[in-house]
């Protein structure tokens, strides 16, 4: 029972990797808080959006085994 987490931009630099497999968490906010502590992400959850399987979702969406989760820091295209 695991999922994949993708890291982008400053989160990737802080994590030192693009992605990793992690055990299925109780919730997406809990997952982010664990990772934030582990990798010293400077951004609080409130500044991020979260996507599952390539689509933005609400933070209270239940995590699913086998899914791909991405935490999306504020974007800066254009």
């Amino acid at each position: 029972m695991s999922l994949t987490v993708l890291y982008f931009a400053s989160l990737r630099d802080a994590a030192g990797r693009d992605s990793e497999q992690l055990p299925l968490p109780a919730s997406l906010p809990e997952l982010y808080m664990q990772l934030r502590e582990r990798y010293r992400f400077p951004l609080p959850k409130e500044k991020l959006r979260v996507a599952v399987d390539g689509e933005f979702v609400a933070w209270d969406t239940p995590p699913r085994a086998g899914s791909v989760v991405a935490f999306i820091p504020p974007v800066s295209g254009g």
Partner: protein, 139 residues
């Protein structure tokens, strides 16, 4: 045809513009984002754009589809560069054609505003002093 795309190679404004031509179109507004040599007082030497491509393409298409319904357009398109860019390089191109200029201008501006606020693309600026930083506006 897709209305939104990411591009690993240089953008060609002329080729992009062709997509908007239509005998019923009387107006075409376009926007180009160029890599400029300064940001908030710092000298910029170049930059790198990265995306979450799957999500960026989905969001980009959603923006362009919404533009087609919000504005009285004939065609609209947007392409965003990824990778390493030098000063003066074309980073993003938006174009909208319509029978009249009002909707063309309004749509063009709305599209670039939405792309900048919603599409998961990130800019890493390389400064003249050797430093570099990811930009996360509002963070």
């Amino acid at each position: 045809m897709k209305r939104f795309a990411l591009s690993a190679g240089p953008l060609d404004a002329i080729v992009l513009r062709q997509r908007l031509l239509d005998p019923a179109a009387g107006a075409c507004a376009s926007f180009e984002g160029w890599v400029r040599d300064h940001h908030q007082g710092r000298r910029v030497a170049g930059l790198r754009y990265e995306a979450y491509p799957e999500l960026a393409e989905r969001e980009g298409e959603a923006i362009l589809a919404e533009a087609m319904t919000r504005f009285d357009l004939i065609a609209a398109t947007c392409v965003h560069r990824l990778g390493d860019l030098a000063i003066g390089d074309l980073a993003v191109w938006v174009g909208a054609s319509a029978a009249h200029r009002g909707p063309a201008f309004d749509a063009c501006r709305w599209i670039i505003d939405e792309v900048k606020s919603r599409v998961p693309i990130w800019k890493r600026e390389h400064y003249a002093d050797g430093d570099a930083a990811w930009l996360h506006p509002g963070a």
